[in-house]
C-alpha cells in the first residue's frame, strides 16, 4: 500500500557521510613498484588458479603465471618483469594462507607489457569475447571479484535486453569509479562495445549517483554515435551500488528472490571492470594493475592510484604515509569492506579501496542496549527484511526460523541495519553468522 516505487530510486536505504571530497578531485596516479610482489592464487570467487612457473624463473610483465582451473576460474598474470623468488603459501585478508607466488621485480626495468592476441570487437563471436575476458584474468573490480565472463554468459533460453554499467560507487570514501569515468571514457566505451557483443543486449545504461554529476555530464557529452547508450543519474543513497538496488533504481524491476539479474533480462557490470575490458582486450593483455582509492583520516597522501596487483599493503601504507595512531585499516569501503589483521597481505584484483582510521575515529560507545523496536532498521533495509525480528531470533539461535519465515538468505549484508541501530545491536554481524550456519545445515 505504501511501497510505491518511485523511479530513480529504491525503497529504504541510508545516507552515511560520503567523505569523498578529499579524493574525488585527485587524478589517478601511478603507484611506485614495490621491491617485492606477493600474488595469492585465490584472488577471485571460484577455484584458485594453478601455478605454471618455477622458482628462480624470470618472467615478463603480463606473462601468465597461473592458469585458470576450469570455468569458474581465471588465470593470473605477472604484474611486473622480474624473477620468481619463491612459490609458497601467502597470507590473505581472510586470515587463510593460500598457495602464492613471490616475485622480485627487476630494478630500473622499463616494465614493458607483453602484447597478446588482440580481439577484434567487430568480428569476434560472443564466445570468443567471453573467452578473451577470462584469459585476461578479469573479475569484478567493484569488490566481489566474481569472474566477469561467468557473469556475462547469458544462459541458454534467456535473453539480455539491458546492459547496466554500474558507476554508482555508493561506498563512502571511495572515488575510484568516479575517477575512472572522468579519465577513461574511451576505455569504458570500448569495453561497452565488447560487452554489447558478448551479451547481445539492446541498450546500455550507465547508472551514476548525483554526487558524480561531473562524470555523468562528461560521459554524456562523449557518447559515440554507434552505441545505444544512455547515462542516468540517480539520487545518492546507500546501498544503491548493489545489483538488486541498481536494477530497481534504473529500470524499476525486481530480481526474484534467489535469482540473478538475467532473470529480469539484465546484466550488470561495474564501470571499472568495463574500462579494464576496453583497455586490455584490444591488446590481448591480462590484468596487472587496478585503480584504488587510498584515503581515510590516517593517511597523509590520500589519492586515487593505479597499483600493481600483488603490491604488499605494508609498502602501500609506507608510501602514502600513515599516522602512528592508526587503529583500523579496511580493504574496500567502510560499509562492506574487511578490516585488515595483517599488513603482509597484498593488493588483489578485488581491492577497490584502502581506508585508514586512527584512534580518534574508532567507535566510542560500543555499549549494546536492548532492542526498543524503534523500526529504524526496518526503514533502512533496502530489501525490506525485518532486521529487528531477525536480530531477536538470532540471539535465541532460531536460525531455521530466520531462513524459512523471515527470508534471512535474501540478506546481502549491506550493513544498513547495524549502521542505524540506536541500540548498537550488531545486526548484520548476527546475520552473516546465521547465514553461514543455515547454509551448512542445508548442505549437510
Amino acid at each position: 500500500m505504501f511501497t510505491n516505487q518511485s523511479n530513480n530510486t529504491f525503497n529504504h536505504g541510508i545516507h552515511p557521510p560520503e567523505n569523498k571530497e578529499e579524493t574525488n578531485k585527485l587524478p589517478i596516479r601511478q603507484f611506485p613498484f614495490s621491491p617485492v610482489i606477493i600474488l595469492p592464487t585465490a584472488q577471485h570467487l571460484g577455484k584458485p588458479s594453478e601455478i605454471i612457473i618455477r622458482e628462480g624463473q624470470e618472467v615478463a610483465r603480463g606473462q601468465i603465471l597461473a592458469n585458470a582451473t576450469g570455468y569458474m576460474s581465471v588465470p593470473l598474470h605477472s604484474p611486473v618483469s622480474g624473477r620468481i623468488r619463491k612459490i609458497t603459501n601467502v597470507p590473505t585478508i581472510s586470515g587463510k594462507m593460500v598457495p602464492g607466488i613471490i616475485i622480485e621485480p627487476f630494478a630500473a626495468s622499463g616494465q614493458e607489457v607483453m602484447e597478446g592476441n588482440p580481439v577484434d570487437v567487430n568480428h569476434a563471436t560472443p564466445e570468443e569475447i567471453l573467452k578473451a575476458i577470462q584469459d585476461a584474468g578479469i573479475v569484478g573490480l567493484g569488490g566481489a571479484a566474481f569472474p566477469t565472463h561467468v557473469k556475462l554468459k547469458v544462459p541458454e533460453g534467456k535473453v539480455c535486453e539491458d546492459l547496466l554499467i554500474n558507476g554508482i560507487e555508493c561506498e563512502p570514501f571511495l572515488t575510484t569509479d568516479h575517477r575512472v569515468m572522468l579519465e577513461q571514457a574511451e576505455d569504458i566505451f570500448m569495453g561497452i562495445r565488447y560487452l554489447l557483443r558478448a551479451t547481445q543486449a539492446k541498450q546500455v545504461i550507465i547508472g551514476i549517483e548525483a554526487n558524480k554529476q561531473d562524470a555523468a555530464d562528461y560521459l554524456t557529452g562523449l557518447i559515440p554515435e554507434d552505441l545505444p547508450l544512455k547515462v542516468k543519474v540517480v539520487p545518492v543513497k546507500y546501498p544503491q551500488g548493489a545489483e538488486k538496488m541498481l536494477i530497481t533504481s534504473i529500470l524499476g524491476k525486481e530480481i526474484p528472490s534467489g535469482g540473478l539479474p538475467i532473470d529480469v533480462k539484465v546484466v550488470v557490470v561495474n564501470v571499472a571492470t568495463t574500462a579494464e575490458i576496453g583497455r586490455l582486450l584490444p591488446h590481448g593483455r591480462g590484468i596487472q594493475e587496478r585503480v584504488i582509492t587510498i584515503t581515510g583520516p590516517g593517511v597523509s597522501k590520500k589519492g586515487n592510484y593505479r597499483i600493481a596487483i600483488g603490491t604488499p599493503l605494508r609498502f602501500v601504507l609506507e608510501q602514502v604515509g600513515v599516522e602512528d595512531t592508526v587503529s583500523e585499516v579496511y580493504m574496500g569501503g567502510p560499509m562492506m569492506g574487511v578490516a585488515v589483521s595483517n599488513l603482509d597481505i597484498s593488493i588483489v584484483k578485488g581491492t577497490s579501496g584502502i581506508v585508514v582510521f586512527t584512534e580518534r575515529e574508532a567507535k566510542k560507545d560500543p555499549k549494546v542496549y536492548p532492542c526498543i523496536k524503534c523500526g529504524a532498521c526496518v526503514d533502512a533495509c533496502p530489501i525490506s527484511l525485518n532486521p529487528s525480528k531477525l536480530g531477536i531470533l538470532a540471539k535465541y539461535e532460531e536460525y531455521d526460523k530466520m531462513a524459512e519465515q523471515y527470508n534471512l538468505l535474501d540478506c546481502f549484508e549491506c550493513g544498513s541495519c547495524s549502521y542505524v541501530c540506536p541500540s548498537h545491536i550488531p545486526l548484520v554481524q548476527y546475520f552473516r553468522l546465521s547465514k553461514t550456519i543455515v547454509r551448512k545445515r542445508i548442505a549437510s
Binding site: E318, V326, G337, F357, Y369, P382, S384, N386, D410, H424
Partner: protein, 326 residues
C-alpha cells in the same frame, strides 16, 4: 609504525543516534509541557511529576537496572506524572511510578520487552486502586500557588475536607451534562484536567517537532487523529448531541496520548501497515469509549488495548521482502 590494529566486521561506520539520546531528547521535549502545567496549576504539577519520577527510579535502583542510566525510567515517570490530576496525593503519584516500572517494564524483562506502555500500566493501576483521587480535578490555581492541600494527604487517608476547589473536566461535562466547552480553553490549557493534557497547542507543536526530528513514527499520530477526526465528524454530522470534532480532538488526553504514549516504539507495531491498523484501532476505541462507554475518557484504555494487539499485528502483518511475491 602501526602498533596495534583494531579488528571488527563491517560496517565500520555508525550512525550517532543512540537509545539513551532518544530517551533524553524525549525527556527534554516533555519539559515545556511541564512548564505550561506549572503556569496553570502552580507548583503542585511539579511536585506530582517529581513524585512519580522518583517512584519510577526507585525499582531501577533497588534491582540495579539499566533504566537508571538510559533515561527510560525518568521518561516513564514523567509521562505518568503528566497524566495525573494536579491535586493528587504525592504518595499516590510515587506509588504509580513504582508500579509503572515494576509491573509495566521489569516483570517483562526490562527495556524493550514489555507489551504495554509502562506509564499507562501505572495509571491504569491508580485508576482502579484510587478511583476517587484520580478523578478529582482541581481548578487551575495559577503559577503562584505552591500546592493543593490534597497533595499532602497521608498514605491510605483521604484528605478530610472537600475544599470546593475541584470540579468536572470538559469531557465529563460533555459526557454527563451534554455541554461542550470553549475550544480556546482547550487549545491554551486553562481547563481542569490531567497535568500535561490540557494545553493542546503546545502538544501539537511538540508533536510536530518530534516528527521533524523523526523521533516518532508519523503514521501513528496521523492514523489516530485522522480516525478520530473522521469518526467524530460523522457523529457530529448525524447530530444527536455528540461533541463537535474539534472538541473531541483537543479534549482529554488524546493529544498527550497520541504524541507521547501511542508512539512508544516498544509497544507499537513495526511494519507500516501494522501501524495503520494500530492507529486506526486506537482512534476507533477512543470514540467508542467516549461516546458509548461508561467513562468520559478512553485514551488510556484505547492505547493499552491496542498495545495488547501489537504482538499479534506484528505476527500477521508481514513486510514484503524484495524479490518475493506481492
Amino acid at each position: 609504525m602501526i602498533r596495534k590494529l583494531h579488528l571488527a566486521t563491517s560496517p565500520h561506520l555508525k550512525d550517532e543516534e543512540q537509545t539513551a539520546h532518544i530517551m533524553r531528547e524525549l525527556i527534554y521535549t516533555l519539559l515545556p509541557v511541564l512548564a505550561i502545567a506549572v503556569y496553570y496549576f502552580g507548583f503542585a504539577a511539579l511536585w506530582v511529576v517529581m513524585s512519580s519520577v522518583l517512584g519510577a527510579l526507585l525499582p531501577e535502583w533497588i534491582w540495579k537496572r539499566e533504566g537508571l542510566k538510559d533515561g527510560s525510567a525518568i521518561l516513564t515517570g514523567l509521562l505518568l506524572g503528566l497524566t495525573l490530576p494536579p491535586g493528587i496525593a504525592l504518595w499516590i503519584a510515587f506509588l504509580g511510578g513504582f508500579v509503572s516500572i515494576v509491573v509495566g517494564k521489569l516483570v517483562w524483562g526490562g527495556l524493550g520487552q514489555n507489551v504495554f506502555n509502562p506509564a499507562l500500566v501505572g495509571r491504569a493501576f491508580l485508576q482502579s486502586a484510587f478511583p476517587i483521587a484520580i478523578t478529582t480535578w482541581n481548578n487551575p490555581g495559577g503559577w503562584t500557588s505552591l500546592y493543593y492541600p490534597s497533595n499532602l494527604a497521608m498514605p491510605f487517608m483521604q484528605s478530610a475536607h472537600a475544599d470546593g476547589l475541584t470540579g468536572a473536566t470538559p469531557l465529563s461535562i460533555m459526557k454527563f451534562e451534554g455541554q461542550s466547552s470553549d475550544i480556546m480553553h482547550l487549545f491554551l490549557g486553562s481547563t481542569r484536567g490531567s497535568i500535561g493534557e490540557t494545553c493542546g497547542i503546545v502538544l501539537v507543536l511538540i508533536g510536530a517537532y518530534l516528527l521533524y526530528k523523526k523521533l516518532i513514527n508519523w503514521r501513528i499520530p496521523l492514523s489516530i487523529l485522522l480516525t478520530v477526526l473522521v469518526g467524530s465528524s460523522l457523529f457530529y454530522w448525524m447530530g444527536t448531541g455528540f461533541a463537535n470534532p474539534l472538541f473531541t480532538l483537543f479534549s482529554g488526553g488524546l493529544m498527550l496520548g497520541t504524541v507521547f504514549m501511542a508512539t512508544d516504539p516498544v509497544t507499537s507495531p513495526l511494519a507500516p501497515r501494522g501501524i495503520w491498523i494500530y492507529g486506526i484501532g486506537i482512534g476507533v476505541l477512543v470514540l467508542l469509549i467516549r461516546y458509548f462507554g461508561g467513562l468520559p475518557e478512553g485514551v488510556m484504555y484505547a492505547i493499552l488495548l491496542m498495545n495488547a494487539f501489537t504482538p499479534m499485528i506484528n505476527r500477521f502483518v508481514k513486510i514484503r521482502t524484495y524479490g518475493h511475491k506481492k
